[in-house]
């Protein structure tokens, strides 16, 4: 299986270790992983801001870069959701492109969904030891149905004790540009999420989207919590929690 790895702009800039962890997992599952060099952004920030034109252009760019892969996998429900659920709509008026983009979208997966439902990863390389709670990122959950997959993978790790938080599926308040445009509201939503996380009393909080994690970590540290680890599911599963 030739998997095109969609690194995502946030992982690329803010936490490359997530990218390497994801690749490690995909290779452990027996995939050949390629990383198209010129990839930049899936277009979701533009799309959600109402800039359909930019989103269309970037969709075409992604198509060109990933079309020859058997699968496209992203360590993000947000970006995978964008490609899978919204790319066809963006190009619905152009039948030739629509066909190609539909094929691309059907082959695009969020990381944990791919590992469970396509690659069938059985042995998890990671060796996390401790308690963790899981935040269900909105796009992954509601656009792609990602909920059982990360939990199924974590369940295969003997050192992991998963404790569910109250309101795991409630939005953390990130929402891309929303976090800056409606900062006070976004901070309140993040604060509510942090309270639920702390109430779960775990060593770590884990999620599948770096946007959520940056938001959650940002609020945790500002409100004085410097102990709880904030980790991407890929990092926990791959056994790699060191940055270079």
């Amino acid at each position: 299986m030739r998997v095109g790895f969609f690194v995502t702009c946030l992982v690329d800039a803010m936490r490359p270790s997530i990218g390497f962890a994801a690749i490690r997992l995909l290779e452990a599952a027996g995939c050949e992983v390629v990383v198209p060099e010129d990839q930049t952004c899936c277009g979701q920030p533009a799309y959600n801001s109402g800039d359909r034109g930019t989103a269309k252009t970037l969709a075409l760019k992604v198509l060109g870069e990933f079309e020859t892969c058997d699968y496209v996998v992203a360590p993000s429900g947000s970006c995978a959701g964008m490609i899978r659920m919204h790319y066809p709509d963006l190009w619905r008026d152009d039948p030739a492109i629509l066909d190609r983009i539909t094929l691309l979208s059907q082959r695009t997966y969020e990381l944990t969904d791919f590992l469970v439902n396509v690659a069938g990863l059985e042995t998890i390389p990671g060796h996390f030891h401790g308690t963790l709670t899981y935040h269900d990122s909105c796009s992954g959950l509601r656009e792609l149905g990602v909920q059982n997959q990360p939990r199924a993978l974590l369940a295969k790790m003997p050192g992991v004790a998963l404790k569910e938080m109250v309101e795991a599926t409630t939005c953390c308040g990130f929402g891309g540009a929303f976090a800056v445009k409606f900062g006070e509201l976004s901070t309140r939503m993040a604060d509510n999420k942090c309270s639920h996380i702390e109430a779960a009393g775990t060593d770590a909080i884990v999620a599948g989207d770096l946007g959520c994690l940056l938001n959650i970590e940002g609020r945790l540290r500002r409100r004085g919590n410097h102990t709880i680890q904030v980790l991407h599911i890929a990092e926990v599963l791959a056994g790699n929690v060191e940055d270079t």
Binding site: A13, F178, G183, S186, N192, G218, T244
Partner: protein, 468 residues
């Protein structure tokens, strides 16, 4: 109702810091969210019901003119008078004329959100007609001169102490402390109003084309009282509320109370057809039905038509994390939450409610619970597209988007810019690895730190052959 949606951001600050409101809003979680989840299980196949309900609504919208004509024909044949109102002002004028024609001095009213759009109460009062709201929540709002903050639970923002104070002040009776006592007091104060009203005004949750009937759901009994006792009844509702058959309305009724309040059925469902017969003791002598457009037809045939499926259950706002944190008044008009963020700009103009479509993370919780499968997040995004197309975005946002767009299309520039940016941010984060301030992004850093990046991008590391 006056539109104040332009002050959304300021209202948000106020509401986030309103401790009493925050406490009141937490009740929504238990009652409405938890309640709904429990009763949805009663439906054999919930998703199939949603699909059927959406199909019924779409079937009507596709041929709305034909269905309205059939409704009008049936209703008229049964003895009702059907009126058509293009705007809120039209509604007010029609009701005032009906009132004048029948010598109405006092009207008893059960809840109608459409009449809030029109400002009907004020218009009637200006004509010398006394209007008494009888739904307990609306009555409380009338006493307090406030607007509803939720389409189903209008005084969710008030606690019992507020209401006890209000009643003591306005009724001039000893202050009650118990919710049941407060309800009893309201009942006794309002019962004479029902009995002495010349006209009953109601909404209609649905209009049944098959029989020409207006269908009203209530729990309190005030809906039955205002449509039975006074000699004139006026039912006012939107043109999109028509439903083909009794079976169709039943499919919708299976979803409406469950989605709204977590009830399997509302205490009363009244299906009203025509005026009282010669031998009837009870019932209005004159039954008027007003079909209201007021901007609804502008959604037909367009990309946002699905918004007209709405059955006003309130599930979207109950499940919306934004609504849960700020309540309904911040939205600045009749309809709050996700459905309000779509209807308000549509009805009053996008330029008068520019923040509403953007005050959402597009988390999708609303779309999942909507009983008629309105793609609410998609509609919010479409309004953002309209803002973009009409140049209604701030210059900062326009520039940021243009810049991002250009960079994302030019990988070499993108790679270089990100390499520089992450080094700068890493440096700014210091030993802590946290940024406490970020120029241009105070919306983030006022309340949160930003974890600093590691200082190298994935792409540069990958290219260097690093594996971790």
């Amino acid at each position: 109702m006056q539109v104040s949606a332009i002050h959304f951001k300021r209202s948000v600050t106020e509401k986030l810091n309103d401790a009493k409101l925050q406490n009141a809003l937490s009740r929504l979680q238990t009652r409405f969210v938890g309640g709904r989840a429990a009763v949805i299980d009663e439906i054999a196949d919930f998703e199939a019901s949603r699909t059927a309900a959406a199909a019924i609504r779409d079937c009507v919208l596709k041929n709305l003119d034909q269905w309205l004509l059939r409704f009008e024909q049936q209703a008229t044949a049964r003895g009702a008078t059907v009126h058509w109102a293009e705007s809120g002002a039209d509604v007010n004028r029609i009701v005032a004329e009906i009132a004048a024609r029948h010598g109405v001095r006092k009207a008893a009213k059960s809840k109608s959100m459409v009449t809030e759009e029109c400002g009907l109460n004020e218009a009637l009062e200006a004509q010398g007609v006394e209007v008494v709201e009888t739904d307990l929540g609306e009555y409380i709002l009338q006493l307090a001169h406030e607007a509803p903050s939720h389409i189903v639970a209008p005084v969710v923002h008030k606690n019992k102490e507020d209401i006890a104070d209000l009643f003591a002040d306005k009724h001039h009776l000893p202050r009650k402390t118990d919710i049941a006592e407060l309800c009893r007091e309201a009942r006794e104060i309002l019962r004479p109003a029902f009995l002495s009203a010349d006209m009953g005004i109601s909404g209609a949750n649905f209009l049944v084309a098959e029989t020409g009937s207006a269908l009203i759901v209530t729990n309190e009994g005030n809906g039955r009282l205002v449509t039975t006792l006074p000699r004139v009844h006026v039912a006012i509702t939107g043109i999109e509320k028509v439903v083909p058959t009794l079976e169709d309305v039943t499919t919708l009724l299976r979803l409406l109370p469950r989605s709204a309040t977590g009830q399997s059925i509302t205490n009363y469902v009244s299906v009203l057809t025509g005026a009282k017969g010669a031998d009837d003791h009870d019932g209005p002598e004159h039954f008027h039905i007003i079909l209201v457009d007021n901007g609804r037809s502008s959604l037909l045939g367009g990309e946002m038509q699905s918004m007209l499926r709405c059955i006003r259950c309130g599930a979207c706002m109950n499940h919306c994390p934004v609504y849960q944190n700020i309540g309904g008044h911040a939205y600045g008009w009749v309809y709050p939450g996700p459905m309000g963020s779509i209807l308000t700009p549509t009805f009053v103009g996008l330029e008068n409610a520019p923040d509403l479509p953007n005050a959402s993370t597009l988390c999708g919780a609303c779309g999942v619970v909507c009983p008629v499968k309105i793609p609410l997040p998609d509609l919010l995004r479409q309004l953002r597209e309209k803002q973009m197309a009409r140049g209604l975005k701030s210059w900062q946002e326009k520039i940021a988007l243009k810049l991002w767009s250009w960079m994302a299309r030019h990988p070499a520039v993108y790679a270089l810019s990100t390499k520089i940016t992450v080094r700068v941010l890493k440096y700014a984060g210091g030993r802590e690895g946290l940024l406490h301030r970020l120029p241009g992004a105070s919306g983030w850093t006022d309340g949160r730190d930003l974890p600093a990046p590691v200082g190298k991008t994935f792409r540069e590391l990958y290219r260097q052959g690093k594996r971790s």
